[in-house]
């Protein structure tokens, strides 16, 4: 039976891990907010600065997710899957890339006009070589995600999976990542549980 063993949600200028608000910069918007979360991680990773906002957001959420007890030594690189989804694909960066076309088209921006580049950035950072998938839905589809991730793990295609939703469009953004592992944990992988965890920042606690 698969369990959700950690969560990280970044939304409305607050970072939550495992259901608790852990970081809220004094006042920050868009790019500055992502930079302050990066500084909060304390990591030196120069590639971060080259990423688009979607990759930065997903990368940061994954960084903080994996600090919640993930033991990379328990897995071979090809056993860890990354399955992400959103509504706007890479539209935020598509707009920025096309603005460069009138002048000199920028390969450094063009490469980010695919949403799965964020998965690539996560895989490079953590040396994950397992299953990948990027799905587009109008809104967060917990039922599909639970079904797909369960399928991957039940068939032996993955032993751990980082899954969830990372969406950016202009000033609007939300990241919600879940670590799913085979054993342990109090929260079984289910659409209901994922949905409940996803809604964290709209609950009044």
């Amino acid at each position: 039976m698969e369990h959700i063993t950690a969560t990280c949600i970044i939304s409305d200028h607050i970072v939550y891990t495992n259901g608790k608000a852990v970081f809220e910069p004094p006042s920050a918007e868009g790019q500055d907010f992502l930079l302050s979360v990066y500084q909060h991680t304390g990591v030196q990773y120069p590639k971060f600065y080259k990423m688009d906002n979607l990759s930065k957001l997903g990368w940061l959420a994954c960084e903080l997710l994996l600090r919640q007890g993930f033991r990379s030594a328990d897995y071979r690189p090809e056993e860890v899957a990354v399955v992400l989804s959103n509504a706007n694909a890479s539209l935020d960066t598509d707009d920025k890339y096309f603005a460069t076309v009138k002048d000199i088209p920028s390969p450094a921006v063009f490469v980010y006009t695919l949403p799965n580049i964020m998965i690539g950035e996560i895989c490079i950072r953590h040396h994950f070589k397992g299953e990948n998938a990027f799905f587009i839905f109008e809104s967060f589809n917990a039922a599909f995600l639970a079904q797909y991730v369960h399928g991957l793990m039940a068939s032996g295609s993955a032993r751990a999976c980082i899954c969830g939703w990372v969406d950016v469009l202009g000033e609007e953004y939300k990241a919600a990542l879940f670590l799913v592992e085979e054993a342990g944990g109090a929260t079984p992988l289910s659409a209901e549980n994922i949905n409940q965890l996803f809604q964290i920042n709209t609950r009044h606690e």
């Binding site: 990354v82 998965i119 895989c123 490079i124 990948n132 079904q147 797909y148 068939s155």
Partner: protein, 377 residues
């Protein structure tokens, strides 16, 4: 994985509007790649496989959606599929979908204008297409660079295997416009002439437009045709825009696919490679195929016939593989003359009549992703 059978399929490309039309042109050695002078897309002439400029320019649906509608309509018609069936799912694959809408809008408005970003969104296209055919379930969209088509097939296989659905209509499409052309151009990745996969003089890709649809089912009444038996996806964890230097990760994906299909390398009779004709992709693939023990297996790339059709490529090229299996015929890898990779492969250079039982289709893409599927008859 349980056996998942092909019910019907379709290719819509500049070569034709059905699988049969496409395959007969391919057998005759006809390529869709031409020299184009289209100032709206590029200042300089370029080689690509494109529809006529007026294709898909009228009506309520975008060109991207029209390609999918035409392709899906033919495939479900041939297969006598009822999309209203609650056990049937629609799965779509694309990289850039409606991106051309951004090109005619004021700068920044794709982000700022809620109407435009909703109209461009891939889930909007998916809903329009699902509604058109009255699909009962919410469609799934996959956008995972150049492995999107293979991943869409694999997603269908997995959803059927797990018992979530009995049938899947899997369709992919991409349209070439200034956005995509300028982007690959900025990478210096586009060949100044027709592309030459695996050849010594290869110097980049041609882009192509098209759509492909495969209907899959585990239902008893479809048993007996060609079946999809296994597949896998993986990541190089190396570079976002360049492939692995060793090919080890694609090799691992091939090995996993064969294991899931219950086959050994010696049982594969043909490989439909990704073969984009960039220096690095073809070299990486040659290493991976060799490492997987498949270096003597006949292999081709269809990129010199269709160009790189991006999110449609995995579907179109899988459908050509299905047709090759039905006719026991491997197509020559157009554009190949002299070996240009460090691990020579058995690149097919003329029509090869041979009994095909099991075949492998591979793909790789930006973001370091690799994918493979195995088919048998």
């Amino acid at each position: 994985m349980k056996d998942i059978f092909v019910v019907s399929d379709n290719i819509v490309s500049p070569l034709g509007a059905t699988t049969a039309e496409n395959f007969s042109r391919l057998k005759a050695g006809i390529s869709a790649v031409r020299r184009h002078e289209r100032p709206a897309m590029a200042d300089e002439p370029f080689y690509a496989a494109l529809f006529d400029p007026e294709t898909g320019t009228s009506g309520p649906y975008t060109k991207f959606e029209q390609l999918l509608l035409v392709s899906i309509s033919d495939a479900i018609g041939n297969g006598h599929i009822d999309p209203r069936d609650p056990r049937t799912i629609l799965i779509l694959s694309t990289t850039k979908g409606n991106i051309s809408l951004l090109e005619t809008a004021p700068a920044g408005s794709a982000t700022a204008d809620p109407w435009l970003n909703r109209r461009m969104a891939l889930h909007t296209s998916a809903r329009l297409i699902a509604d058109h055919f009255h699909f009962a379930n919410t469609p799934v969209v996959i956008s995972n660079a150049c492995i999107s088509g293979i991943l869409a097939l694999l997603t269908a296989m997995r959803l059927i295997d797990s018992g979530s659905y009995d049938m899947a209509v899997v369709a992919g499409a991409d349209v070439i416009s200034k956005f995509v052309l300028s982007g690959f151009g900025s990478f210096q990745a586009i060949s100044p002439g027709p592309c030459r996969p695996f050849d010594l003089s290869r110097d980049g890709i041609n882009l192509g437009e098209g759509a492909g649809t495969i209907v899959l089912s585990s239902r008893e009444k479809y048993h007996g045709g060609i079946r999809f038996r296994g597949g896998a996806v993986g990541n190089d964890a190396n570079h976002i825009s360049g492939p692995s230097r060793t090919g080890q990760e694609l090799c691992q994906v091939i090995n996993k696919s064969l294991a899931e299909a219950g086959l050994t390398a010696g049982e594969i009779g043909f490989i439909s490679a990704h073969g984009t004709a960039t220096l690095y992709n073809d070299e990486m693939e040659a290493k991976a195929i060799t490492m997987a023990g498949l270096q003597s297996v006949p292999v081709n790339s269809l990129k010199a016939y269709y160009g790189h059709t991006l999110g449609a490529a995995g579907l179109i090229e899988s459908i050509v593989t299905l047709q090759s299996m039905r006719e026991n015929l491997v197509l020559p890898s157009l554009g190949f003359e002299d070996n240009g990779v460090s691990m020579p492969l058995n690149i097919c250079s003329s029509l090869l009549h041979t009994s095909l039982y099991s075949c492998l289709k591979t793909a790789s893409g930006f973001g370091g992703c690799n994918a493979a599927v195995v088919m048998s008859q």
